[in-house]
């Protein structure tokens, strides 16, 4: 609409309002990254200046790498979140295929179970999960692999129901003719799934993978419960610990926040289309 009108005063007001909100999302992040290159006393007195010349320092990053296990925390986060995303798409993919294509007695009840699963907030399952994992000796253990698995397990379960809802919606929209001809050529259901359904449903698998990854990567609550040993901490847990241990080292705080935000920002710029889709497709989940 309005394609034949010139730029009006109304347009100016609209852009002004939109610009102000854009500023509130861009500037704080720019500000914190900028200040991560300054010494503490400069952050507290001169935080709006661009860090050039004498103002510029890398000391905060040096401290961050020396004193915090930021790389191992990154690695732990990556292991947990990649595992969650991978297991979720495989298990949810298989279950969705069966729920869409097969007719069986329990189908309706299973579908309602899936929907109900989305309504359980993590608060309402975490204590029994902790008790169960601890009876299996998966928490408070010296083994890094086991404690990372202990975080991944409940996160997988927490993302499955959402993933199944998204994937069943998509698989239902696929034409059945391809599967019929594959069947005539002698494909088993497992082959039909892996050779036809998975390639066709790739975009929605990507959506689900991105959503599960980000949800797991950002989830502090589960990590607080299950990662009890300092050397096992993943990235959000490490950041949370900073407030209590290094509460007044503001330069270090700015540097660690930047170290967490910048990789996400870069990935976001390249994959934003899929990320926005993934996060809002998961609107019902949280």
């Amino acid at each position: 609409m309005n394609t034949n009108k010139k730029f009006s005063a109304g347009d100016a007001v609209i852009y002004l309002i939109l610009g102000v909100w854009a500023l509130t999302t861009i500037y704080p992040i720019f500000w914190v990254v900028m200040n991560s290159f300054k010494a503490k006393n400069e952050i507290l007195s001169n935080s709006f200046a661009i860090p050039t010349g004498d103002l510029f320092t890398l000391a905060n990053y040096r401290t961050a790498f020396d004193r915090l296990n930021i790389f191992s925390a990154y690695r732990n986060s990556m292991i947990i979140s990649c595992t969650v995303a991978a297991v979720v798409i495989v298990l949810a993919g298989m279950a969705s295929f069966a729920l869409v294509r097969y007719d069986f007695k329990l189908k309706k009840s299973l579908n309602s179970l899936v929907v109900a699963g989305m309504m359980f907030p993590v608060f309402s399952t975490i204590i029994p999960v902790f008790r169960m994992l601890s009876s299996w000796h998966l928490v408070n253990t010296e083994s890094l692999a086991l404690s990372l698995i202990s975080v991944a397990l409940p996160q997988i379960a927490g993302n499955l129901s959402f993933a199944i809802v998204v994937l069943t919606g998509y698989i239902r929209s696929l034409p059945i003719e391809l599967e019929e001809s594959a069947f005539l050529e002698g494909c088993s259901p497992l082959q039909i799934f892996s050779k036809i359904i998975v390639p066709l449903a790739k975009p929605s698998f990507a959506t689900v993978a991105i959503f599960s990854f980000l949800w797991s990567y950002n989830d502090l609550f589960t990590q607080m419960f299950l990662l009890r040993l300092p050397q096992h901490r993943a990235i959000t847990r490490l950041l949370n610990e900073l407030t209590s241990n290094e509460g007044t080292n503001f330069g270090l705080m700015a540097a660690s926040v930047s170290l967490v935000i910048i990789p996400v920002l870069i990935v976001y710029i390249f994959l934003q289309k899929y990320i926005i889709k993934g996060m809002t497709a998961g609107a019902v989940k949280g």
Partner: protein, 295 residues
Amino acid sequence: MGANIYKNKKPLFLFLVPAFAFMAIFLYYPFIQNILNSFKQIPELGAMDKGWNDPWYTNYVTMFQDENMRMALRNTLIMMVVTIIGQVGIAILLALLVDNIRVGAKFFRTVYFFPIVISATALGLMFNLIFLYDKGMVNQLLESLGRTELIDWKGENLALITMMLPVMWQYVGFYFVILITGLNNISGELYEAAAIDGATRLQRVRYISIPMLHNVMCTCVILGVTGALKVFDLPWTMFPKGIPLGETWLTGTYMYYQTFNTKNIDYSSAIAVLIVVLGIITAKVVNAIFKEKDY
């Protein structure tokens, strides 16, 4: 024909069992167990329970006498109102405005959505720096504008606002994207017809965009109020343990505190049950309100 392929039900188990076994063990069973736990005596997080409470509903009685719990409930209710008015309200305004511009819509979408992708923990640390008393970004800004006294953003008077502003700010973009998708789904012909009939821009928004968005807005409000019950990361990073003086408890943070700091495991299970019940009730209430409204 389609039914022929899938007549043999044997592979069904192979496909279904892994996912549903996972959910049964880590979702459905713990959920039921948690309800039972809230009626038991559990001395420690990893320890066996010592049988039922006497009377079995003790924890639910305590809850209504617990002042911190009352504070947590009050704050959570305020948080719900803030999310409806602040998040969804601002998002509607922004979405309607973006719907009316020709260039830059994609830019605004990208920029508005970005905070959701960042972990709330990192944002919590960032806002700690921004609202620092001596002197973070806001106080430095106010000083340069001529204010001589520093404002204690995390002090008793302002703590609640300082906690809710970042939570609100982070999720505006989320509702914005949902709403703008809804707006894009409205057929252009409707607007054209209205324009031919001489409707102004404002009239088109009022009589086409808003009524057509009714269902999407309902979804947003439900997501907002149930989301408010689940907020944890950002408040726990900025205001751990309800500081100052238990002013900033939310149901989620208080439940965590009861588990790890007070070690009252069965009581925190009861709080978790309350969170679920409140979620169901508020979702039903919002649904009922929105259904009756007719444009």
